[in-house]
């Protein structure tokens, strides 16, 4: 591939990571990760702690030295094991919001935000104007002269964000920026971050272990597990069509039903899946089935419950339905979680708080074939 191709904005994304490997001693924290982030796109690396997501992000920033693979930003090779090239952090023109905020306590809020501008030797007037614009964006203008050591957690978060966007970087990296905030503030900041990211149109890579956060604010989500990528897709893709057992389990809540493929259903592209209890289910597959898959996943929110005899609420003929008995009911406020005994074993079902059923009631369970997803592994 020539440099000319890479400069073409349509062909290459803003960030391209290829076969990235980062080792700590003998252990590979990141083991052969490849993905592309398009211009203006907001991509989230999601996974449990130790999955390599932060290491990947830090490698993009140049804070970790990989041992193999390549990283390109804006068409320029920032790291390449083959070319023995490793551009230092400060020359990569990326910006980053740290998990600890890393707001410098010995400077004022303004000095923190102006840092990147002063490093770039901008004229004094421009420094002031751009820093103030950034502070306006995070509504921290009135705190500009305050010492950064006197700020609350939420305020520090805003300062860190303003500092990261002040010098108009083309790529913005976020390392779990909301994980130190309390739940309510986190929900608010989530909305603001999404808003800001859209407004600035800046390419961003975001790291989090919070699946709700990942689904809510991303254009695409990359689910990582033990140093590798499990699935890349839109939030809806990841939620509705998990590829692997890990994704189904880690993102949202799902029932995993063991069994085997028993053939294909007629005409509609669905397959027939015989569960361990002998119950035959109609399932869909996002991939071309190999035949030896042994698990389907059903989201707890995709399952309908109706009292026996009453008309089922989803009168879909090509769906699945089975008899069950409610074993336990837990009221969670925003939803009610039922544990239901049914032929393959136990099923977890989440219903809106208006769907009340008594413990011990005999019920009919129903879910569409599209929501019964065959897992690749």
């Amino acid at each position: 591939m020539s440099a000319l191709d890479l400069a073409d904005e349509g062909a290459a994304g803003r960030i391209e990571v290829r076969d990235l490997v980062v080792r700590y001693g003998d252990a590979a924290a990141v083991d052969g990760v490849s993905f592309t982030v398009g211009r203006g796109e907001h991509v989230t690396l999601l996974g449990p702690s130790g999955c390599g997501k932060t290491t990947t992000l830090r490698a993009i920033a140049g804070l970790e030295t990989p041992s193999a693979g390549s990283i390109q930003i804006n068409g320029q090779t920032m790291y390449s094991a083959a070319e023995r090239r490793n551009v230092p952090t400060e020359k990569r023109a990326v910006s980053m919001v740290f998990q600890s905020y890393a707001v410098w306590p010995h400077m004022s809020v303004f000095d923190n935000v102006a840092y990147g501008l002063r490093v770039r030797k901008l004229p004094r007037a421009d420094v002031a104007a751009q820093a103030e614009r950034a502070l306006d964006l995070v509504q921290m203008r009135q705190y500009a002269e305050r010492s950064a050591s006197l700020l609350s957690g939420g305020q520090q978060q805003r300062v860190a964000l303003a500092r990261a966007i002040a010098f108009s970087p083309s790529v913005l990296l976020f390392d779990e920026p909301l994980s130190n905030l309390d739940a309510k503030l986190r929900a608010e900041m989530r909305v603001e971050l999404r808003e800001l990211q859209r407004r600035l149109g800046v390419t961003s890579v975001y790291v989090t272990h919070d699946q709700e956060e990942a689904l809510a604010i991303s254009d695409r989500v990359i689910v990582m597990h033990v140093g590798g990528i499990e699935q890349i897709g839109t939030p809806e893709d990841i939620y509705h069509r998990p590829k692997t057992r890990f994704v189904a389990d880690f993102v949202g809540s799902a029932n995993l039903i063991a069994g085997r493929i028993a053939g294909s259903a007629d005409g509609n592209g669905h397959i027939r899946f015989e569960s361990a209890g002998g119950l035959m289910l109609e399932a869909c597959a996002a991939h071309r089935p190999r035949g030896n898959e042994d698990t389907v996943a059903v989201r707890t929110a995709h399952i309908g419950i109706s009292i026996n005899g009453a008309a089922p609420e989803q009168a879909n003929t090509q769906g699945n339905s089975a008899a069950g008995r409610i074993r336990q009911r837990l009221f969670h406020g925003d939803f009610i979680q039922y544990v239901v005994d049914w032929p393959p074993g136990q099923l977890i079902v989440r219903r809106p708080p208006t769907d009340l059923f008594a413990e011990g009631a005999a019920v009919t369970l129903s879910f569409a074939a599209e929501h019964c997803v065959l897992l690749e592994g």
Partner: protein
């Protein structure tokens, strides 16, 4: 890089120790090097000198018990009661340590010498007969050591008490145990490892303690191991072999004690010491609390107020006496201190060394700390070990090793301030590294990384982020190194020469030549320099709202 640092630090630390060991095995002519014949004779002779060993053990044991009991009670009072002015008391508690055992011993010699001591004179005045106190005794030495070096016990036990999670006690109360039962069954067992660790640590310190035994023991020919070492180097001809053997034996025992201390601390951690500071819940202790408060006040009285008062009074007198009616007030002692050639140069040299060692030391140590704790240079653990090693060597043993090492080297710095500066730097490395490391470890790595991400080069980041963040630590380390240099005795006493005098040995020689009044004046001047630095340190610490090291 690593290799260079290891060679540099290892050379500074290891070179004198090697000389010490070789000389201690020398059975030929004590003054030739390398030794003509090697043997264990010097060590065998030690055992014959049983008196010195029993004296040392006796004094160290009493002093340790006094220091730990006092330290425990005071730490308890200051962390667990609701007494007024606790914060101020806590700060006062640290003063005796900065006053130094040498000054403390001088002051107590003035206060409690048989017949002439102020306290004994007062006793006679109210009609008592005989002497109330005799400071020139094993008990007197132990008393001064406990007061002025035992502060460590208080600090360590206090830290153990503060790091105890109050919910451990609260759950005992909730389960129905009473106040006293909780204290006996929960609190005491939990702080036991801390107290035990402090005891072992203080014992090691007391074994290597020199100043009190020098001022209070030598006049009555009562020798402990440190003063015996000193005596051996002063005899004619100097018996360096014997001195080195004693020194190495002392080092071995102290090293073993400190190893034991580390073992206790690591093993006895339970889950109480989480590194998290808790606010211990004050207990309602009624009248006992006031008794403990009185004890704290008593400690401040005998370790700060009385010594300073006695020294001040004496320093203005022509002849030391407690009776103001008979006293002749004079400024002559201060005139001598500032005017008399040798003494005044000692003063100047000490300040010069203090400023020089602190300035150069902080610069070198800052780089060293950075490499040890921040870089991913292989072998940084080994460098740390080497750098921290001098704290396991008794000061005066190190001084002896240095003396012997530098006499035998063709570089002509023996008897100059250069050697003193090099020696100070070596023995103060652990202090400086510990202080700076405390600050470096508090600085989150991301604070620096963020500067780089913002586009700053390494040098720009160093100037705008790293150094400003390190400033409180650098100031604290500078002041602590200055204080430690100005009060240094153990190493200095072997390395001073006619043209390189410093203040602590000058105080000792003034004392030995029986000029109590002059030594009092010198002691006060030294303390004044230390206290000024200390006040600046406290101010700086408060301004940066950092913690006192």
């Amino acid at each position: 890089m690593t290799v260079f640092l290891l060679l540099f630090c290892g050379g500074l630390v290891g070179y004198p120790i090697v000389y010490l060991v070789l000389e201690s095995l020398n059975t030929g002519d004590a003054d030739t090097f390398p030794p003509e014949s090697l043997g264990l004779d010097n060590y065998v002779n030690l055992i014959d000198d049983g008196r010195i060993l029993t004296n040392t053990a006796f004094v160290a044991c009493i002093a340790t018990v006094m220091a730990v009991v006092l330290g425990f009670l005071i730490a308890w009072t200051l962390t667990r009661t609701r007494l007024p002015g606790r914060a101020r008391l806590e700060r006062l508690m640290q003063l005796p340590y900065y006053l130094t055992p040498l000054v403390g011993a001088l002051a107590w010699a003035i206060l409690a010498a048989p017949k002439s001591g102020f306290l004994n004179q007062l006793w006679h005045l109210v009609g008592g007969s005989g002497d109330l106190f005799n400071i020139y005794s094993a008990w007197g030495i132990a008393w001064v050591m406990a007061l002025f070096e035992g502060t460590v016990a208080f600090v360590m036990i206090g830290a153990a008490m503060k790091s105890m999670d109050p919910s451990l006690e609260e759950s005992s109360r909730v389960l129905g145990a009473g106040k006293w039962r909780t204290m006996l069954r929960i609190t005491l067992p939990l702080v036991t490892p801390g107290v035990l660790g402090a005891a072992v640590f203080v014992f090691a310190e007391m074994l290597g303690s020199f100043a009190a035994a020098l001022v209070l023991g030598v006049p009555g020919r009562f020798f402990v191991i440190t003063t015996a070492i000193w005596e051996a180097t002063l005899s004619f001809p100097p018996d360096y072999g014997r001195a080195s053997a004693m020194g190495f034996a002392l080092f071995a025992v102290m090293f073993a004690s400190l190893t034991g201390y580390r073992w206790i601390v690591r093993r006895g951690n339970y889950a109480t010491i989480t590194g998290k500071a808790f606010r211990p819940r004050p207990l309602e202790m009624g009248a006992i609390a006031w008794l403990l408060f009185a004890l704290c006040c008593f400690y401040v009285l005998v370790a700060v107020a009385l010594p300073l008062a006695a020294l001040t009074l004496t320093s203005f007198q022509r002849f030391a006496t407690v009776f103001l009616s008979e006293t002749e007030l004079t400024l002559a002692n201060y005139e001598t201190a500032f005017g008399f050639g040798a003494v005044n140069s000692a003063l100047g040299n000490s300040l010069l060394l203090g400023v020089g060692v602190a300035t150069v030391g902080v610069l070198i140590l800052a780089v060293l700390v950075w490499i040890i704790y921040r870089s991913r240079v292989p072998g940084s653990g080994l460098i740390e070990y080497v750098v921290m090693f001098p704290q396991a060597v008794p000061r005066m043993v190190f001084g002896l090793g240095l003396l012997w090492a530098w006499i035998n080297i063709p570089i002509p710095i023996y008897g100059t301030l250069w050697l003193l500066a090099l020696a100070y730097f070596t023995v103060l490395m652990p202090l400086g590294v510990r202080t700076l490391a405390g600050v470096v470890l508090q600085i989150d790595r991301s604070l620096e990384e963020c500067a780089r991400v913002c586009g700053a080069s390494w040098a720009y980041q160093l100037r705008t982020v790293t150094l400003p963040l390190l400033r409180p630590g650098i100031i604290a380390a500078w002041l602590l190194l200055f204080i430690a240099s100005v009060r240094e005795l153990g190493v200095s006493i072997f390395l001073v020469g006619p043209n390189a005098k410093v203040i602590a040995p000058a105080i000792v020689s003034a004392w030995i030549s029986s000029s109590t009044e002059l030594s009092a004046a010198l002691a006060l001047i030294q303390s004044a320099a230390v206290f000024i630095a200390l006040i600046v340190l406290l101010r700086a610490a408060r301004r940066y709202s950092g913690e006192l090291p």
